[in-house]
């Protein structure tokens, strides 16, 4: 399966999948069903995670089409133009930013749910507005993306959106200004420390270290880990936009993304695990211990593949 196929497969998740999640969320709010609300929040987080490889495979598909000589500079009739692809990229970059914000807020709501079974109406309101804005932006990106693949729906004039070539502008800015990459790299390491530091503390407690510490106290640190993850997602988007050519055919980057998704799924599992309510001195059940060991493996894997980007692949 080449990246174009993968992109065509994955791009239904942030559009159709996200639309279903919003419908469930609205029904949950209208029917005051906590189960529906929780299920939709899980899908929000899952879709936000899957949107990352969806975006990445978009640029991989672009490189693939360019290598096959199927992208024109605008002079060849009937062929897809680079400008249209960059319009799609711009709309997708903006939509991805909103999607990750929605996913982060949905995770925070899930975490609040688990601790108190009570999420404020204000938080739901913000989440509803943000998710509807995300759906609108994603529909726009999908519309332009459809035109790349379907010449029969392209109009005589090339499609433009208010996002313009935002992805290219942001990427070229990071590439061409000396301070942005270095600053983003430093922030990426601060985010990594926050994320892995908190996760390792919780996982070690799950595995039986520091039994005198309550799970509930450590659990309160989790939003700091999510802030670290948000910092890394944002800076990671900037790196990718600036130099996607060094990532799209890089096996280390492929495996880094796989491990990010596995670690994300593991984190979602922990939003339902009841271990956090155990008193100090109590041992975690075996399933929670296995999940904690898995989390350590996945997050160390993310760091490992990130470090291997220049050694296994062609980055930097």
């Amino acid at each position: 399966m080449d990246p174009t196929h993968l992109h065509l497969l994955l791009n239904h998740v942030p559009t159709v999948g996200f639309g279903i999640a919003i419908a469930m969320f609205v029904l949950g709010l209208a029917g005051r069903s906590n189960d529906l609300k929780q299920a939709s929040l899980v899908i929000f987080v899952g879709v936000a995670l899957i949107t990352i490889p969806t975006y990445v495979t978009g640029n991989a598909a672009q490189v693939h089409l360019q290598d096959r000589g199927e992208v024109s500079d605008g002079t060849s009739e009937g062929m897809v133009t680079l400008s249209l692809i960059e319009t799609h990229e711009g709309a997708a970059f903006l939509a991805l930013s909103f999607m990750e914000l929605t996913g982060a807020l949905a995770w925070l709501a899930l975490w609040r749910f688990r601790r108190t079974m009570n999420v404020s109406p204000g938080m739901y309101g913000v989440l509803l507005v943000l998710s509807l804005a995300t759906l609108g932006l994603m529909a726009q990106a999908a519309n332009v993306g459809g035109m790349i693949n379907h010449p029969e729906i392209r109009g005589a004039e090339e499609m433009t959106t208010f996002a313009g070539h935002f992805g290219r502008i942001a990427g070229d800015y990071v590439r061409d200004t000396p301070w942005t990459w270095i600053a983003a790299e430093t922030i990426h390491f601060i985010g990594l420390s926050m994320l892995v530091g908190v996760i390792l503390l919780i996982d070690l407690r799950m595995l039986g270290v520091m039994k005198f510490v309550s799970f509930a106290a450590l659990d309160r640190l989790l939003p700091w880990a999510m802030l670290g993850f948000a910092m890394n997602t944002f800076t990671g988007m900037l790196f990718f936009a600036a130099a996607y050519g060094q990532y799209v055919n890089n096996p280390a980057f492929f495996w880094k993304l796989v491990f990010v998704l596995l670690a994300g799924a593991n984190t979602l599992y922990f939003t339902f695990d009841r271990t956090w309510a155990l008193e100090p001195g109590r041992d975690a059940p075996m399933l929670s211990k296995a999940a904690a060991a898995g989390a350590m493996f996945f997050w160390v894997g993310v760091m490992y593949w990130g470090s291997m980007l220049p050694f296994i692949g062609n980055a930097f």
């Binding site: 925070l108 609040r112 601790r115 108190t116 009570n118 404020s120 000396p178 301070w179 270095i182 600053a183 430093t186 922030i187 601060i190 509930a216 309160r220 939003p223 700091w224 802030l227 910092m231």
Partner: protein, 38 residues
């Protein structure tokens, strides 16, 4: 030198904003949980 100062300022600025954001989340959560007697 100017590059180092620019990077330092940006990183410091982002870190302070994230720290304030994290502190506000923690304060909000603490307030809710105190009210609920947790």
């Amino acid at each position: 030198m100017q590059l180092a100062m620019t990077v330092f300022s940006v990183v410091l600025g982002v870190t302070v904003v994230v720290a304030i954001f994290g502190y506000l989340i923690d304060r909000t959560v603490a307030g809710h949980e105190r009210k609920e007697g947790r």
